[in-house]
Each structure stands twice: as C-alpha cells, then as structure tokens.
C-alpha cells in the first residue's frame, strides 16, 4: 500500500510538478490543497502519512498552518515537511515549531521523493515494490 502525501501549495504548477514527481518517481499517493485552510480540512479528512507544506502562502501562511496542524489532535502526529525558498528558511526555528524537516525550492523533481524519505526516515519505495505488493494482495 503506497504511502499517501498531502501537498499544500498555493501555486498550481508547483502542485502539479510535485504531484507528478512524487507519484511517478516516488510511487506515493498524492492529494493536493491550494490553501492553508483547504489543507487543514483535507488533512483532517484524509489523514495522509505526511504533509508537504509551502511556507509562503497568502491568507493562512505556512507557519500558521503548521501551528494549527500541531494544535489539532487528529493531525498533530502527521509529520510535516516545510517547503521554502532558501532565504527565508530558518531550519532550526521551523523544526522547533514542529516541522519534521525543510525542503528547499527549487527542487530536483527526480530527487524529491528520496529527499522526502530521507527526512521522514522512510525506505524509498520504488514502483516495482508497489506492483509486487499489489500483486501479492
């Protein structure tokens, strides 16, 4: 069973690229949200295995969304990776606020899934594994 990821980013193209990369290269199941608010709702409903959260967003920005996720008991345990342009990131500060790690934009779409696994301590699952898993079931 492939792990599921929730990608929260206000930029449509980035969402699409991230989704394509994580699905086709990483073999994950990916759902997307276009705003912090929507992301909170989806996180609550779908309970993904991890969340990738953009830092700079209008309305409810990344930090506030992270705080909210960690405050809500149902979503508090879901690991969150912050996605950010280098300059604003303060890795230590974000980790201190509850993030599992930080990914830098622009990312290499071919490396993104491995980077995610590295941060979360997951074993990188190739498509073959999923197929074989699926075949077993």
């Amino acid at each position: 069973m492939p792990r599921s990821l929730l990608v929260i980013d206000d930029d449509r193209d980035i969402r699409q690229v991230a989704k394509t990369s994580l699905e086709l290269v990483g073999g994950f199941h990916v759902i997307v949200a276009d705003s912090g608010q929507r992301g909170l709702t989806l996180a609550h409903e779908a309970r993904p295995d991890a969340i990738i959260l953009d830092l700079m967003m209008p309305d409810l920005d990344g930090r506030k969304t992270l705080a909210q996720l960690k405050r809500t008991p149902e979503t508090a345990s879901i690991p969150v990776i912050m996605l950010t342009a280098k300059v604003q990131a303060d890795r230590q500060e974000l980790v201190g606020q509850g993030a599992a790690g930080v990914l830098v934009k622009p990312f290499d779409p071919m490396q993104l899934p491995d980077q995610v696994c590295q941060i979360l301590g997951w074993v990188p699952s190739g498509k073959d594994e999923d197929r074989s898993d699926a075949a077993e079931k």
Partner: protein, 591 residues
C-alpha cells in the same frame, strides 16, 4: 601686521617732516618779520634823515633871507625870522647828528658838514654885526665878498649828496626786501605744498587702513556667520563636552533630535544620552582591543579620541522621552593652542532612515527571492520530469531541447541564489555569526563538500592544514573555500591535483588553493573578483559558472577583515589565497 608697521612708519615720517617744515617756516617767518621791522625802521630813519636835511636846508635859507633882509633894510623886524631859524638850527643840527651817528659814512659826512654850516652861520653873524655896528655899506661889502654864497652852495651840495645816497640806499634795500619776500613766499609755498601732499597721503593711507579694517570686520562677521550656520546644520548633532564628559554646548539639531533644550543639557553628563548597556560592552571591547583598562562609562566614548585615533562607531542615543534611535557617532578630541586636552566633540548622524531603508531592502530581497524561485521551481520541476523520462520516452531532438532548457534553468536558479547572496553579504546586513573556528576543521568541511564533485572529475585534493583558530562565521568561510575549490576542480585537467593548504604568519592565516589548470592572464587577476567577470565568455556556458562566485568570496573575506587575491601563470595553473587575521587568546595590539 607688516602692513600696519609700514603704515605706522609712514605716519611717523610724515609727522616729523611736517613738523620740521612747520618749524622751518615759523623760523623763516620770524626772521623775515624781524628783518622787515628792521627794514621799516631803517626806512623811517632814512626818511627822517632826508626830511631833517631838507629842514636844515630850509632853515639855512630862512636864516639867510632874514639876515639879508636886515642887512639891506636895517629893520629889526627882519631879524626875527633869522633869530627864529638860528634857534631852530641848533636843535636840527643836534637831531641830525643823532640821525647820522648810526652810520659811519653818514657820521663822517655830518662831521664834514657841521663846520661848513657853522662857518656859514658865522658869516651871517658877521653880516648882522656889520650892519648893526657899521651900517649899510659895511654890510654890502660883506655881502659882496661872496663867501657866504660859496658856503651855502657847499652846504647844499653836501646835503644833496647825502639825500641822494640815502635815497639810493633805500631803493636797494627795497629791492632786496622784495626779493627776500619773494623767496620767502616761494619757500613757504613749497613747504605748504609739501605739507598738503603729506597730509593727503596720510589721509589716503588712513582711509585705506579704515577700509581694510572694515573689510576685515566684515570677513570676521561672515566667518562667524558661516560657523554658526555649520554649527546649526540640521544634518548633524554636535555636542561638545569637557574632559570629564560633562556637556558644554549643543547645536540646534541636537535639541531637536533629543527633545531637550540646550540649557537643560549644559552641565549634565553625556551618559544621559547614551544606553548604559552599550557603553559597558564598548568598554569591554576597547579594553581587549587597546590592551588597557577602559571603563564602561564616558571613557568608552572618548578614550580612542584622546589618543588621537579616529573614532567612528554606531551607537544609540536616548531622547528625553526615553525613546531611542541609532546614530553614527564620530568623536574628536578638542585641544587648546598649547595642545592641552580641552574636551571632546561628538558629531552624530541619525541612522534611523538608513536603517529603515536597509530593512526595506532586506524585505525586498526576501520577497524577490520568493517571487523568482516560485516559477523557477515549476520550470525546473517540469523539465526535470521530462528529461528524467517520467512522462515517457522523448524523441532524441526533443530530449536535447529539454536538456538544454533544464540545464539553463539550473543556471538561472544558481544565478538567483548568488545575486541574492551577494546582495545580502555586501550590504553587511547579514550579521556574520563570528565565533572561534578551528582552521583544520574548516578545511576538512570544505574539502568534504566538494569531495563527490572532485571524484566525478577525476581530480584529487591534497590537504595540508595548519594549527590555529580564526574569528569567523564558519558557514561563510567554508562557502568561500568551497567556491575556490569548485573553481579549481572545474579548471583542472582530468587526473589533475589540487593543493589545498593553510599557512601561519605571525598575525594571520593564509589559505591556499592551487591548481594546474590553464591559468589566468595577468591583466585579469584583479577583475575576476568583480561581478559577472569570467576569464573566457564561453566559460559561463561550459563550466556552468554564474560569474558571481569570486565576488561573493571577496565580499565574505572583506566582512572578516581579510584579503583575497590570485596569482597565476598562463598554461601552468592558478593560486588563490585568502588571508584572515589569526585569533590570539590575549590580544596585545591595538585594533
């Protein structure tokens, strides 16, 4: 001053000459007047003489006439004029004798005249006697003897001579007098003219002196006005203190910025305007730097200035209402003419606006970096997936095009990173987190960062560290060294060797990155550290550089008070060196 001395000399000379001239003229006038008086006296005498002689003449005639009348008529009444004249003659002769006594010539002439006059008087007496005693015929006989007439003629002649001589004398004297008067007038005239000229010159000089003094006064006033304008310049706060840090004067800007009136501040300590904590830290910092104890009070502000060292630093001013604002402070020692310390002058510029602008710049940089990176993420992402074959196989040409697009989007991304990095480092707003860093540790981290890349290019890095520590932001120094190593790897031939070493001098550490690549031409050794400079235009494309790497290295090194330079020989290789101050545990030298 010289001007005044010369003028004074002039005035003294002019006065002396005028005085002399006046004295000369006075003396001349006095003498001439005396001579004039004498001449007048002589004139009177001469006239008297001539008159008296004429009177003598008349008297003698009267006597003669009276005598003859009697001689001829025998009437006693005719004798009266004769007797009257006789009586008068005596007196007149006395007078004449006195008149002519002054002049020896005239005296002689009188002495010659007198017996002749007496003789004539005798003849007249004889005639009278003859008539009265003997009658008419005896008288006629005496008359016919003619003696009387001869005597009379002689008398007349002598009188005439004297009169003529006197008259001539007079004329001569008059002429002489006139000439003398003329020369005197000329002399007086010339002297007066000289006096007038001197007076005019003196006046001119005094007028000029006056004008000079006036223009000096105006110049002084202007200088004072300018000084006051400078002092009250709105752009700087100027505070003067005495040796102990008590405020003496403040300018208008100080009053305005700090919300005090000058009178409120005069006599209070300068510490009233500063942040106590800041001064404490400065005291500690200066103690370490100058190797002597510096208290964290006003000493922290003025010590350096007192030693004649230029002291410019940033600190905080505290307003009357307690609010603060940042200033750039410049402290100078004020000394008297004899070079004694009189106090200090503190000139401050308000940095609030500058800081606000820098904050805006930082925010701008932040926003821009996000804005630029967002589309780049999509571009790089999409192209990466294409090239990675995730969307399916690409026809060869399409693949080539996609690859070109991808590598350039990478380049663009690196460019954005470098520009923003450079901007933040150069603006100095990146507070470098300087700490004690070990040289060897820095070198290890740097070479490990590029380890994979070096391996990929088949280049080996030889590490030769040294002992020692520097006060630095490790991340940034590593960034700089990684940049140099990256360049060295880029330009090294396959199988080449890079020397990465550190050496100690007595006060600093020099990091050295040496390669045997193609080298750098001599005329480019300075310019390569400037922005967007690459030795060869094609490098940018081939080697993937942004042209900003060395500019960033230089900026980082400068922020650490260090030096970076390159040495190279074309075809043999290049050597890049970074020199940084060594951190001694007990600094003894001044900053």
């Amino acid at each position: 001053m010289v001007m005044i001395g010369r003028i004074r000399l002039w005035i003294i000379a002019a006065s002396v000459v005028s005085l002399a001239a006046l004295s000369a003229v006075s003396w001349l006038s006095y003498r001439n007047t005396k001579e004039l008086i004498a001449a007048n006296e002589r004139l009177a005498r001469a006239h008297k003489m001539i008159e008296d002689l004429a009177a003598l003449h008349v008297l003698l005639d009267d006597a003669e006439t009276g005598c003859r009348d009697y001689a001829l008529s025998g009437r006693t009444e005719s004798l009266k004029p004769y007797e009257a004249a006789l009586a008068q003659l005596d007196v007149t002769m006395q007078v004449l004798r006195r008149d002519l006594a002054a002049d020896p010539n005239r005296s002689r002439q009188f002495q010659e005249l007198e017996p002749v006059v007496n003789a004539r008087l005798e003849t007249m007496k004889e005639l009278v006697r003859a008539r009265s005693a003997s009658g008419l015929e005896a008288a006629v006989r005496v008359l016919q003897s003619d003696r009387g007439k001869k005597l009379t003629d002689e008398i007349r002649q002598r009188i005439s001579i004297v009169q003529t001589e006197e008259r001539n004398d007079l004329l001569d004297r008059e002429r002489e007098s006139r000439e003398r008067a003329r020369t005197t007038i000329l002399g007086v005239g010339v002297t007066c003219l000289l006096g007038i000229v001197l007076l005019l010159t003196a006046s001119l000089v005094i007028v000029r002196l006056n004008r000079q003094s006036e223009s000096d006064h105006i110049a002084l006033q202007n200088a004072e006005r300018i000084q006051r304008t400078i002092l009250n310049s709105a752009a700087y706060s100027m505070i003067s203190t005495d040796k102990t840090g008590l405020i003496l004067t403040v300018n208008a800007a100080t009053e305005k910025w700090l919300q005090y009136r000058g009178a409120e501040l005069a006599g209070s300590s300068i510490l009233r305007l500063h942040d106590a904590g800041e001064l404490q830290s400065r005291g500690v910092q200066l103690t370490r730097a100058m190797g002597m104890p510096v208290r964290g009070d006003y000493q922290a502000l003025v010590t350096k200035a007192g030693y004649g060292v230029a002291d410019d630093f940033e600190c905080t001013y505290v307003r009357k209402d307690g609010t603060r604002f940042p200033v750039s402070l410049s402290v100078t020692a004020l000394r008297t003419g004899g070079n004694d310390l009189a106090g200090y002058l503190m000139i401050a510029t308000d940095l609030s606006e500058q800081r606000a602008i820098e904050k805006m710049k930082d925010e701008f940089v932040s926003v821009v970096s996000h804005e630029l990176r967002t589309p780049l993420t999509s571009i790089k992402g999409a192209l990466g997936l294409l090239v990675g074959g995730v969307t399916g196989p690409l026809p060869p040409k399409a693949g080539e095009m996609a690859q070109i697009a991808l590598s350039n989007s990478d380049r663009l991304s690196r460019l954005v990173d470098d520009i923003l990095d450079l901007q933040r480092i150069e603006s100095g707003r990146i507070t470098m987190d300087k700490q004690l860093c070990n040289v060897a540790a820095i070198m290890k981290e740097s070479s490990e960062s590029v380890g994979l890349v070096a391996e990929g290019e088949g280049v080996t890095i030889e590490l030769s560290p040294c002992t020692g520590s520097i006060n630095a932001d490790q991340q940034r120094i590593v960034q700089a060294l990684v940049n140099l190593l990256g360049n060295a790897i880029k330009f090294s031939p396959r199988g080449g060797r890079i020397e990465f070493a550190a050496e100690r001098t007595d006060r600093s550490v020099v990091f050295r990155v040496e390669d045997n690549g193609r080298g750098i031409p001599k005329d480019k050794l300075e310019t390569i550290f400037e922005r967007f400079q690459q030795v060869d235009a094609s490098d940018a494309r081939e080697k993937g550089g942004t042209g900003l790497g060395l500019a960033i290295v230089r900026s980082i090194v400068q922020q650490h008070s260090g030096r970076v330079w390159a040495e190279s020989e074309l075809g043999r290789g290049s050597k890049f060196c970074i020199q940084l101050p060594l951190l001694e545990p007990h600094p003894l030298s001044t900053e």
